[in-house]
């Protein structure tokens, strides 16, 4: 009954192909631009080369931006996950006075334009005498990312039967044992996806970094700066590598989820 009729199937196929094209064609252009020998972007590309990648890998400054981005993203993801884990339990599990208000206030920063949020943070930093730096950027990212991570983990918490914790306690487990043996393992998929999304959001973030990193620079900031002055195909090369990194992180996450599902199905 649910089968799509033939002409409709054709239409669906075309539509899906168009959407994919629409989403991925620009990225393909980026990838192609990074392999162009010419310093300027021309289409079609007259001559392909990989020299810009060699330049990227040889560049000490790009390497330092990469490390800055990575360290910020890892710290943000770790701190956001820890905060979000307990936040999500408060958010989705326990009933307490003010819970509804907490849920709304927590989610509000997600909806603020990031540039405004970044500006607010910059003003706040200067008010309390904090010099913008990559450490300040970690804080700035957290303001926006921790609520999102909380939401991601809360979805898993909602699906968690609180009777399982009660059963663990009833069978003699202490609070700590219950957390370690029951709550954490059952929430692991949510925690992992929370961590990954936090990492990727921080890794790719430009507006908050722009206002908060000060003298330190992240990859997205470098890309933006280079586009305004001094474009070379190093920029699309770095862009391609950044995308690739995100894809790898996603793939690792997918692989972890697959392993987890397999273990749960008792095949391992």
């Amino acid at each position: 009954m649910n089968e799509i009729r033939r002409p409709a199937r054709w239409l669906y196929g075309t539509l899906i192909a168009l959407v994919l094209l629409f989403v991925y064609l620009p990225m393909m252009t980026l990838v192609m631009a990074s392999f162009s020998r010419s310093k300027f972007f021309k289409f079609p590309i007259p001559q392909f080369a990989t020299n810009w990648y060699a330049d990227v890998f040889a560049s000490l400054s790009i390497r330092s931006f990469f490390w800055t981005s990575l360290v910020i993203a890892l710290l943000v993801a770790t701190i956001a996950t820890v905060l979000a884990f307990f936040g999500a339990l408060a958010f989705a599990r326990y009933r307490w006075a003010g819970r509804k208000l907490y849920q709304k206030i927590l989610l509000l920063p997600i909806l603020f334009p990031q540039a405004v949020l970044g500006l607010a943070l910059l003003l706040w930093f200067s008010a309390i005498g904090v010099t913008p730096s990559w450490q300040a950027a970690v804080f700035a990212h957290l303001v926006w990312i921790a609520p999102i991570t909380t939401l991601v983990i809360a979805i898993q918490v909602y699906a968690f039967d609180p009777a399982m914790e009660e059963a663990a306690v009833d069978l003699g487990a202490t609070r700590w044992q219950t957390l370690k043996e029951v709550t954490l393992p059952i929430l692991t998929p949510g925690i992992v996806s929370g961590f990954l999304s936090a990492f990727l959001l921080s890794w790719a973030n430009f507006p908050l970094s722009m206002f908060s990193t000060g003298a330190d620079q992240t990859i997205p900031e470098w890309i933006s700066a280079k586009i305004q002055s001094g474009y070379t195909p190093q920029v699309p090369a770095v862009g391609t590598l950044t995308m690739l990194a995100a894809v790898i992180v996603m793939a690792l996450g997918g692989f972890a989820a697959w392993l987890h599902a397999r273990r749960r199905a008792g095949l391992a």
């Binding site: 306690v169 069978l171 749960r264 008792g266």
Partner: protein, 363 residues
């Protein structure tokens, strides 16, 4: 003499326990003794306070007032993880990230029991609950409803509790499986000799398994007794209705002890227990029978057969008396009514098979 007293001491004693939520007493001053090795079932409709009660007994909630004594020791303030009791939850609360074996071993792992011993015990329990050995490595998420039920029971037995509580664990299962598991549970009770305290909303389920039943309503026990007492001599209309379908006639008992039907004006002989005044006369469908005419039963009514319902080994008839009264009559299948629908019939019952409860009494 001290020894005999100790031996006779109930394993669990409730002393006027009360649980109040916002001035509403979910459990209202209940006093009860549960004996060692007993299968005690608490039956009640939803909202009767039975779940609140069991949560206090296992230590997940504290009574507002009153005392809970385990072998004479007050345990009100002992948290659930320090009590030698455990519960099979309504949702079973199996751990989905663990295998059947790991679920069963959970309480042993918590206690730091050696892995080899744990596995040995888990395999024993699998055998006891008639689950195959290879289920040890099976994911609980892959088990059927009945298997999950057995895993939950095995996990609770691995804890080796002094009292095992059950919070309606069978309610989500289909009828047939429920019937099988009720009997299995009673067999396990016999095998282990442990004290079982079981909660259900089904008196029928309670009848099958229990040594004693406490019928609960509005936070109190309406009647506590053996299944036979509950079935044979319910003390209130509420209990008599709770067992299943019954005929309830509104009657008025006169000073001579006979009752007048408020609807049809017919006169019945009723058990002497009721005083004069408005009463409910309760007659089980199986106590009603077709009779050839007056004189063949102590009380008779005449009406017509409106419909017939086959219930497997038994058969029920809906009898309409006049326009307003409907009675159910139940026979064994081999005693089927041979006449046509809508033809006049006489049905009757003996006074001793009916029950009478004064109205206005707390149900």
């Amino acid at each position: 003499m001290v020894t005999t007293e100790a031996a006779a001491q109930p394993i669990l004693q409730l002393r006027a326990i009360e649980k109040v939520f916002d001035q509403f007493a979910a459990v209202d001053r209940i006093t009860l003794d549960i004996q060692e090795g007993e299968f005690f079932t608490i039956v009640g409709p939803s909202g009767s306070g039975k779940t609140t009660m069991v949560r206090m007994l296992v230590g997940m909630d504290k009574p507002t007032r009153g005392d809970i004594l385990l072998r004479g020791r007050r345990i009100n303030d002992v948290p659930a993880n320090r009590r030698p009791t455990c519960m099979v939850f309504q949702s079973l609360a199996l751990f989905p990230h663990r295998t059947v074996g790991q679920n069963i071993e959970f309480p042993l792992k918590i206690r730091g029991v050696d892995p080899a011993l744990r596995k040995k015990r888990a395999l024993e329990l699998l055998a006891q609950l008639r689950l195959p050995d290879h289920y040890y490595n099976k994911a609980v998420t892959q088990c059927s409803g009945g298997e999950r039920q057995r895993v939950a029971l095995a996990r609770a037995l691995a804890f080796d509790p002094e009292i095992l509580f059950f919070d309606e664990p069978l309610s989500a299962l289909d009828y047939k499986l429920r019937k099988v598991l009720e009997k299995e549970l009673k067999d396990i009770h016999r095998q282990t000799g442990k004290t079982f305290v079981y909660i259900t909303h089904s008196l029928e389920e309670a009848m099958v398994m229990s040594d004693r039943i406490g019928v609960m309503n509005r936070g109190r026990f309406v009647q506590v007794g053996t299944p036979n007492e509950i079935y044979g001599s319910p003390t209130t209309r509420f209990v008599s209705e709770f067992m299943g379908e019954v005929n309830i006639l509104d009657v008025t008992v006169g000073p001579d002890g006979t009752a007048t039907d408020d609807v049809t004006g017919a006169r019945y002989l009723v058990p002497a227990s009721a005083g004069a005044g408005p009463c409910s006369l309760v007659i089980r469908p199986e106590s009603l029978r077709f009779v050839a005419g007056p004189g063949q039963a102590q009380n008779v009514v005449t009406g017509t057969v409106y419909n017939e319902y086959l219930l497997g080994s038994r058969v029920q008839y809906q009898i309409r008396v006049g326009e307003k009264q409907v009675l159910l009559l139940e026979n064994l299948r081999d005693q089927r009514y041979e006449g046509d629908l809508d033809s006049p019939v006489t049905a009757g019952w003996d006074t001793g098979d009916s029950m009478i409860f004064p109205k206005g009494l707390l149900q």
